[in-house]
């Protein structure tokens, strides 16, 4: 395989790649400090982080809305700075806090957005009919968006992106501010889009969202990537298999440290026992004192806690 075909083959597998991506805003604030990551084609990738961590900046750079200060980025092999037109043809984005237009119906939103991207009226109408059918939005097809619930409004925006022929769909915090039922509606749409072979890149600060729909995730904190991996292999990223959440009392953080690593998270007390023996002793200790305790396998939230929260707490100490 020569260099060019090796590159093409690699690019076909890689929907998105960033190398040492840096963004320093005009006021001197460094939002991204050399992000390097790659996203496989046909997967759901989630960029997880707190508010202000740099998620939206990264997404805006990769979707050609914002220029990076340095570093390179590619979407389906096309450079996000030098081959902008090629990138824009192949992506669709649903920005954070975006809203549909109040005086348009659901059907009109999808149809006119498609025509705006260059589809003919007949093709736009056909794709609209199909996407509304697939996403269960048919009954709202002629409803004005001002009359829809928050979840349905988000669903319309995601439907607009899904209806395009974009290979990569970017969703910036698609479920923020939605109730659990509305969130599931949006997850359902994302899952359907991924099943059709698209690559979905979404940002979120919701750990359960990552576990529910993402194949792979990366954790960003203060402009730096602090972890990345497959969601179903998250246990390999941590030195512990189990976690215990214990009822907080005035003295127990110190008392519990003999059963594993203890992290205080606001009003929550989390203990990571090192082995089964420690878990057993911890359980006995808590039940003897009448403290509520619940065990669960470690997950994405634990990566977040240990790499972002605990790391910050360690620095403060």
């Amino acid at each position: 395989m020569d260099n060019r075909s090796a590159f093409t083959y690699h690019a076909a597998l890689e929907a998105l790649s960033a190398e040492r991506l840096v963004k320093v805003y005009g006021n001197g604030f460094c939002a991204l400090k050399g992000i390097t990551l790659s996203v496989d084609s046909g997967t759901i990738f989630s960029l997880l982080g707190r508010n202000g961590a740099g998620k939206t900046t990264f997404l805006r750079i990769m979707t050609t809305q914002l220029l990076p200060t340095s570093g390179t980025g590619r979407v389906l092999g096309y450079d996000i700075v030098k081959e902008v037109a090629d990138v824009r043809k192949r992506i669709a984005v649903v920005p954070q806090e975006s809203k549909p237009m109040y005086l348009l119906t659901v059907k009109e939103h999808v149809k006119y957005y498609l025509m705006m991207r260059g589809f003919s009226m007949s093709e736009a109408s056909e794709r609209t009919r199909k996407v509304l059918d697939e996403l269960g939005l048919n009954e709202y097809s002629d409803t004005l968006c001002m009359k829809l619930s928050g979840g349905l409004k988000r669903k319309v925006l995601v439907a607009m992106a899904v209806a395009t022929e974009a290979d990569v769909i970017f969703l910036d915090e698609p479920t923020t501010g939605l109730d659990p039922i509305a969130r599931r509606l949006v997850w359902d749409v994302i899952n359907r889009a991924a099943k059709s072979g698209r690559t979905i890149f979404l940002t979120t600060h919701n750990m359960s969202e990552v576990e529910a729909i993402a194949d792979k995730f990366a954790l960003i904190n203060e402009g730096e990537l602090v972890a990345q991996g497959y969601v179903d292999e998250v246990q390999r990223m941590l030195p512990y298999k189990m976690r215990a959440e214990v009822q907080v009392t005035a003295s127990n953080p110190e008392e519990l440290s003999e059963f594993g690593e203890v992290i205080m998270l606001g009003r929550r007390l989390i203990v990571y026992p090192r082995d089964e023996e420690e878990s057993k002793r911890l359980y006995e200790f808590c039940t003897e004192r009448g403290l509520k305790i619940s065990f669960s396998p470690v997950g994405v939230e634990d990566v977040f806690i240990r790499r972002v929260f605990a790391h910050g707490a360690d620095e403060e100490r």
């Binding site: 005009g26 805006r60 979707t63 050609t64 809305q65 914002l66 220029l67 902008v84 037109a85 824009r88 043809k89 992506i91 669709a92 984005v93 649903v94 920005p95 954070q96 806090e97 975006s98 809203k99 549909p100 237009m101 005086l103 348009l104 009109e108 939103h109 149809k111 006119y112 957005y113 025509m115 705006m116 991207r117 260059g118 589809f119 003919s120 009226m121 004005l144 607009m160 992106a161 395009t164 970017f170």
Partner: protein, 247 residues
């Protein structure tokens, strides 16, 4: 092929920002019409002799308002709905986006423009021969106003600033300059200042076209040059300085 895609994009923008909202909320048509019509009404009461001038003023006002109103829509789409972000990250070009929104603004003002043209015809001041120059000066006026509107809109981050700016620009371009009234009513220094404003020249050319004033060859050439110059400058400003992809 590319041309067809651009035409479709403009059509889609006109539908989503103009035709559909107007059909569902026709109140906008009345709002657009009310301001120039009320001014003409007062001029009819207090200075009947200036009604023909006022009708030209109303026409220019409508064209300016349609350009300035673009500002509010562009900011609304960018800041509140984030629709512009969706457009930036799509194959549509900023020029096509701007044209689509600009033409959609005409949907709101065109019934009022038609009414003003009808009133001019009723007063026997609208002749076939006057239409080309009238249309040309209106076109330049519209291009200037919408270029200014688009340029300002991409630099404003709060919709409340647009409301203030919109009012100010309307006053500067369509209330203070001598478009509703004869320029000769102004003192000499004010006449000189008004010559810096593009709408003054659009009004002079339009008023001459319908035969209510006469200009010397030199005055006509000067008005045409200044109006054209303003249009080119503002178009270039909109094209070069407006922010599409942020840095």
């Amino acid at each position: 092929m590319e041309l067809m895609k651009n035409v479709r994009a403009i059509f889609a923008l006109v539908m989503l920002n103009g035709i559909k909202p107007v059909i569902r909320s026709p109140l906008w048509l009345i709002v657009m019409l009310a301001y120039p019509l009320i001014l003409v009404f007062f001029i009819q009461i207090f200075a009947e002799y200036a009604v023909s001038e006022a009708l030209v003023g109303g026409l220019i006002s409508l064209v300016v308002m349609s350009g300035v109103a673009l500002q509010a829509d562009v900011v609304w789409y960018r800041v509140e709905l984030k629709f512009q972000d969706m457009a930036v990250a799509s194959p549509i070009s900023p020029t096509v986006y701007m044209m689509g929104i600009a033409i959609s603004e005409l949907v709101y003002s065109s019934p009022a423009i038609a009414l003003f043209l009808a009133l001019m015809a009723l007063r026997n001041i609208l002749k076939i021969s006057s239409i080309p120059m009238l249309a040309f000066s209106m076109l330049l006026c519209w291009l200037s106003a919408l270029s200014l509107g688009f340029y300002l809109s991409t630099r404003i981050s709060d919709i409340r600033h647009v409301w203030a700016l919109e009012g100010l620009i309307s006053i500067m371009l369509s209330m203070l300059p001598p478009i509703y009234y004869p320029i000769s009513l102004l003192p000499e220094w004010a006449q000189a200042v008004s010559m810096l404003v593009p709408t003054t020249h659009a009004a002079l050319l339009a008023k001459e076209a319908i035969g209510i004033i006469s200009l010397t060859e030199h005055q006509r050439l000067m008005s045409l040059t200044i109006l054209l110059l303003w249009t080119v400058i503002l178009l270039m400003l909109a094209r070069r300085k407006s922010v599409w992809r942020e840095t």
